[in-house]
């Protein structure tokens, strides 16, 4: 990938969003009213007596009475029928380099049309998109976009993928799966950026619809998940295992927060688990914590901490370990596990050069795991 290709992509992205983003920003919508929300019946729930329901989407298993919403705030029990309030209600619509998700081994150097609706089923104190993940749909400006409209927007400008990202896409799983199906018909792939807090059955269905999943493994102890995420670690590990054993491509991000989840022993334990459960080819990104949301006043992660974490994970046998959120760091590059040559050179989410031919290092012929075309 050369600079020329990147500039071509950027120009294409500009044209593409001329239609999409311009329609979003030409008449900025006001925060929604209740009547603006969708009324599409949700999947993954069971009806209970007295018009109660139990949500089966995520491990919280919210049990809801009439007119109550789940923890995510975007799924509501209306008279015993569970509905999703955000089907087709797009609050964020951008074009990003796929490296920004980050996917480093999935169509590198290409733009991804990125969409999100409101909502999340955990409550990370360090969320970087809290304005849309930690609020109710009524509080956020959104635009109606059918699954077909999103797929068409991507296909018309030849974006190879649509990313469901920014918030927690599993809470809008119905919309995501319908969009992914529409996109697949147009040869556009779908990638998911998720916290992995999802039950096995919906995940199984999702993995049939999408092509790649990046899971944010936010820590490696239940204590961390309890204190800083308000979620469960075990289901996330189960989800990673399930993705790793599916045809979908898997990458893992571990956000390193100084003193909270950065002990070397913990990093080694996590890396060992990845090696044993999903294999050494799965890319792991040690991402730099930047002060956000409720932890806005904490120091960012020292780069040396990330470098030590990377060394530890490589030492545990992982082949592709990256340092993230540190633009220009050499560990943004992909190195061939066979000869050590740089096979993909990156700079701040952008690909400068690739040395991969048909999935192999162009110098030594070693197979580089990933989805390259």
């Amino acid at each position: 990938m050369k600079r020329r290709r990147f500039l071509r992509d950027a120009a294409g992205a500009g044209l593409a969003l001329g239609s999409g983003l311009a329609s979003l920003s030409a008449a900025p919508p006001l925060p929604g009213r209740d009547s603006d929300l969708s009324r599409v019946e949700a999947k993954y729930y069971r009806k209970l007596p007295d018009r109660e329901i139990e949500c089966l989407l995520c491990p919280r298993l919210c049990r809801l009475g009439d007119r109550e919403r789940g923890y995510c705030g975007v799924r509501e029990n209306v008279g015993g029928t569970y509905i999703t309030l955000v089907y087709g209600k797009v609050c964020s619509f951008n074009v990003d380099p796929i490296e920004k998700k980050p996917f480093f081994h999935f169509l590198p150097g290409t733009p991804a049309l990125s969409v999100a609706t409101v909502g999340c089923n955990v409550n990370c104190k360090f969320c970087q998109n809290w304005e849309i993940s930690q609020v109710r749909p009524e509080q956020v400006a959104h635009r109606d976009m059918s699954p077909e409209a999103v797929a068409r927007a991507a296909a018309e400008v030849r974006y190879p993928s649509i990313a469901y990202t920014y918030t927690e896409p599993t809470v809008f799983i119905e919309y995501m799966m319908d969009t992914a199906a529409a996109a697949r018909k147009r040869n556009v792939r779908s990638v998911v950026v998720t916290g992995g807090h999802i039950n096995p059955e919906p995940l199984r269905d999702l993995l049939e619809a999408v092509d790649a999943v990046k899971v944010d493994l936010k820590g490696f102890t239940q204590d961390f998940y309890t204190k800083y995420v308000r979620g469960e670690l075990r289901p996330v590990l189960d989800a990673i295992r399930a993705v790793g054993r599916s045809p979908a491509w898997l990458e893992i991000v571990y956000l390193v927060i100084p003193t909270l989840n950065d002990r070397e022993a913990l990093i080694r334990k996590m890396a060992g688990w990845v090696r044993d459960e999903v294999g050494t080819d799965v890319p792991v990104h040690f991402s730099r914590f930047m002060p956000m949301y409720l932890l806005k006043n904490l120091p960012p992660t020292p780069v040396s901490t990330l470098e030590r974490a990377r060394e530890a994970a490589l030492d545990e046998g992982l082949k592709f370990v990256y340092v993230g959120n540190v633009p220009g760091h050499p560990a943004e590059n992909t190195f061939c596990p066979g000869c050590g040559q740089t096979v993909i050179e990156r700079a701040g989410y952008r690909v400068r050069e690739t040395h991969i031919e048909k999935g192999r290092c162009d110098k030594c012929g070693e197979t580089i795991a990933g989805v390259w075309t």
């Binding site: 920004k100 104190k125 304005e131 849309i132 120091p299 960012p300 020292p302 901490t305 220009g328």
Partner: protein, 737 residues
């Protein structure tokens, strides 16, 4: 001062009331400084604390009007209040542990309110009640207690400002005040009882001073605090994580080092706009890498201005020699001065002025983001010069609250500069100039090549991603379409919009409430209550109510007016002269000294009459008219001090006169004091958080003038209409000689 039978000064009778003011003022000040540091002191939080303090103080002086001194005199309660003060300091220091949050984690208004209420209940409630006890001790001579208390407060203010704040931490200063109070009690009162408690308070003072740094280290775990320093400008704390150093001021990050991406972002978007840079001004941020980035431009000389010398000192001590080296470069001139004051005195001619300060979250910082400051910047730029600053934004969704905050800054810039651009991203970088600017990634990438600027983050690839036309267009349209108001020195609305953003992080009702208030016009918010107040006054006057209404309503009005004027003066003063944080104590001391002078003069008068009230009320009105006229003019720095001194004098005089008149018919010694504090409570809550930022100081002073005109009319009418005969009451028989 009262003299005994032999004509000697009667210290033992005067000292308790003096000590009351001495301890109350300094304890409040130190707790407020600590409170600001632990709850990221914006004006909302500041108002909560001061409001709670005044409310509980008022309630304390209203409680149990017939109280008598406990056996053993005041030594025991004063010792206990010292211990309560230390408990308050410890409670604040470990507040995060009590809340189950991380040190540095943001907390909302509800926890801040809870802590403010608990602290004020612990301290201000008993202190308020001690006013009643002291009045009883002095035979019901409330004016004398008020005078002595004001004198004590003014004395402690001078002591804290000139001696303690420049040389000691908050805990050390508080401990010194407490130790001094214990010594004065022991020497001046020679108490027969309570000596063990006093000894314990003294020992605790020593322990608190010694435990300051260790307790901060303990509170910051699991992070590693390596050094802390309380300066006149805030609490500075150095946190080390591996090889990275972070400096925080009042709990808010000033910078982390190394942070090349942050330093590059704050400098290069602006400097890449022009070639042939000769002179650059950097306000803040020099120690965090900004200076090093500026020096990458060939031929560029840099003036680097920092307000607090301790920031440079701590940076030199904790950064590596390489990181600190740019500040020793011969091309760099480091100036320790308020950035705005420096700019006003500078001959100008800068090719670029870069502001690298925290966002306008408080009135203190807001003055770097106002129209008046931008005008000053424009006048000090060379032709075609560029001005730049950055504020936190959001990468993927510009919420209506964020859009309104950014729109306010954008509109203020546009009001001054011909060309204004905004760079999207997690931080929004604003660029402004009189000449065209560019966010064309190719042009900026070309400039990087041409100028030979070697950077880690600024690359053609990064520029293309960040300056994607769709992202730039989206941000621009969101900002332009949001309702925008101009941020001014005297109408600092930007920090109100920032308060909404801050409150939006928490699930309480505060953000909705703040949003709603932002939509209320000044005419409705300020004039409707004023009209309602006029009606109430008219009813009370015509109903010829007794002394309670006649004499205490002006006292409440005085409390309300005084605190609002204090707040307005603090904001206007810092806009005009800068560096107010270090002089808050001195300004408030001027007011306290005024109270002492006024109440002293009031005592000298043989008899109090309604004519005195009329005279004082007319004085308030004249001062308000003068203050309104002086707004925005460049008077001497002594002006605000004199204004507060005059307000305090009139307030002290009014309190003495009104109390005397009221006490002719009532034995409730704390009623006047309580009413004064409750009036102040109401004022501080509405002023700091709402009126000043939303509707501005000119609107505030106009309404205060109208309010005091109403009060003048009230005292005039009530002096002409005799009160109806009051019903008998147990309060009507004064028990004091």
């Amino acid at each position: 001062m009262r003299r005994d039978d032999r004509g000697r000064l009667d210290l033992s009778s005067a000292l308790p009331a003096f000590l009351l003011g001495f301890m109350a003022a300094s304890f409040q000040l130190y707790l407020l400084r600590e409170f600001s540091a632990h709850f990221f002191g914006n004006e909302l939080v500041f108002g909560l604390f001061l409001g709670s303090w005044l409310l509980w103080g008022g309630l304390g002086s209203l409680a149990r009007p017939g109280s008598r001194l406990p056996p053993g005199g005041l030594a025991v309660p004063y010792s206990l209040i010292i211990m309560a003060f230390f408990s308050g300091l410890a409670l604040l220091r470990f507040s995060h542990r009590l809340m189950g949050t991380l040190p540095g984690e943001m907390t909302g208004l509800a926890p801040a309110l809870a802590f403010a209420f608990v602290l004020a209940f612990l301290l201000s409630f008993p202190l308020g009640h001690f006013f009643v006890l002291n009045s009883g001790l002095l035979g019901g001579n409330v004016p004398r207690v008020y005078f002595l208390e004001s004198l004590g407060a003014a004395t402690s203010g001078l002591l804290v400002h000139f001696l303690l704040v420049p040389r000691s931490s908050n805990w050390e200063g508080g401990a010194a005040i407490a130790a001094a109070a214990v010594a004065l009690i022991l020497i001046g009162l020679k108490p027969a009882k309570g000596r063990p408690l006093l000894a314990a308070a003294l020992a605790l003072s020593a322990a608190v001073a010694w435990l300051d740094l260790p307790s901060q280290k303990a509170a910051w775990r699991p992070l590693t605090l390596v050094e802390a320093e309380d300066t006149p400008y805030g609490k500075l704390q150095v946190i080390r994580t591996a090889d990275q150093v972070s400096l925080l001021s009042n709990g808010l990050p000033l910078f982390s080092s190394p942070d090349p991406a942050g330093a590059e972002e704050s400098v290069h978007f602006a400097l890449l706009q022009r070639t042939g840079l000769r002179r650059v001004l950097l306000i803040g941020g020099g120690a965090s890498g900004g200076a090093a980035e500026v020096l990458k431009y060939p031929g560029a000389g840099l003036d680097c201005v920092e307000l607090d010398p301790a920031v440079i000192r701590l940076a030199e001590k904790h950064l590596t020699a390489e990181e600190f080296a740019p500040l020793r470069d011969p091309r760099v001139r480091v100036v320790i001065r308020d950035g705005r004051a420096f700019l006003e005195g500078s001959p100008g001619g800068y090719d670029a002025i870069l502001l690298d300060l925290p966002e306008p979250a408080t009135a203190q910082v807001n003055r770097y983001y106002t129209r008046e400051f931008f005008l000053e910047v424009r006048s000090k730029l060379a032709p075609g010069g560029v001005f730049s600053f950055r504020v936190p934004s959001a990468e993927n969704y510009i919420s209506p609250d964020l859009a309104r905050f950014l729109a306010c800054l954008n509109a203020t810039l546009r009001d001054v500069f011909e060309e204004v651009l905004a760079v999207p991203g997690a931080n929004c970088v604003f660029l402004a100039s009189e000449e065209p600017l560019s966010l064309d990634p190719a042009a900026l990438a070309g400039a990087i090549d041409r100028l030979g600027v070697r950077s880690r983050y600024f690359s053609p690839e990064m520029l293309s991603a960040r300056l994607h036309p769709a992202r730039v267009g989206d941000l621009t349209s969101r900002i332009r379409e949001a309702p925008a108001r101009i941020n001014r020195d005297l109408v600092p609305v930007s920090y109100y919009f920032h308060s909404i953003l801050w409150a939006g992080r928490f699930s309480g009702l505060e953000s909705g409430l703040l949003r709603s208030l932002a939509r209320v016009p000044a005419s409705r918010a300020l004039d409707v209550p004023l009209v309602a107040f006029a009606v109430i006054l008219a009813v009370l006057a015509l109903a010829r109510r007794g002394p309670g209404a006649r004499y205490l309503i002006p006292v409440a009005g005085m409390g309300f007016t005084s605190i609002l004027v204090e707040m307005a003066v603090l904001v206007a003063f810092q806009a005009a002269f800068g560096y107010v944080y270090g002089k808050v104590v001195l300004l408030l001391t001027a007011f306290m000294a005024g109270l002492a002078v006024g109440s002293g003069l009031g005592q000298i008068r043989e008899r109090a009459s309604a004519a005195d009230l009329i005279m004082v009320q007319a004085g308030f009105l004249s001062l308000l008219v003068a203050a309104r006229a002086a707004l925005g003019t460049s008077g001497p720095e002594a002006g605000p001090y004199l204004l507060l001194l005059a307000f305090g004098s009139l307030g002290g005089f009014l309190f003495v006169v009104a109390s005397r008149l009221h006490l002719k018919a009532s034995s409730h010694l704390g009623l006047g004091y309580g009413v004064d504090l409750l009036g102040s409570f109401l004022g501080v809550v509405v002023a700091s958080a709402l009126i000043i930022p939303l509707w501005g100081i000119p609107a505030l002073l106009s309404r205060l003038t109208a309010l005091n005109a109403l009060l003048l009319a009230f005292v005039l009418v009530t002096s002409l209409l005799p009160a109806r005969k009051a019903r008998p009451s147990f309060l009507k028989r004064p028990p004091w000689p």
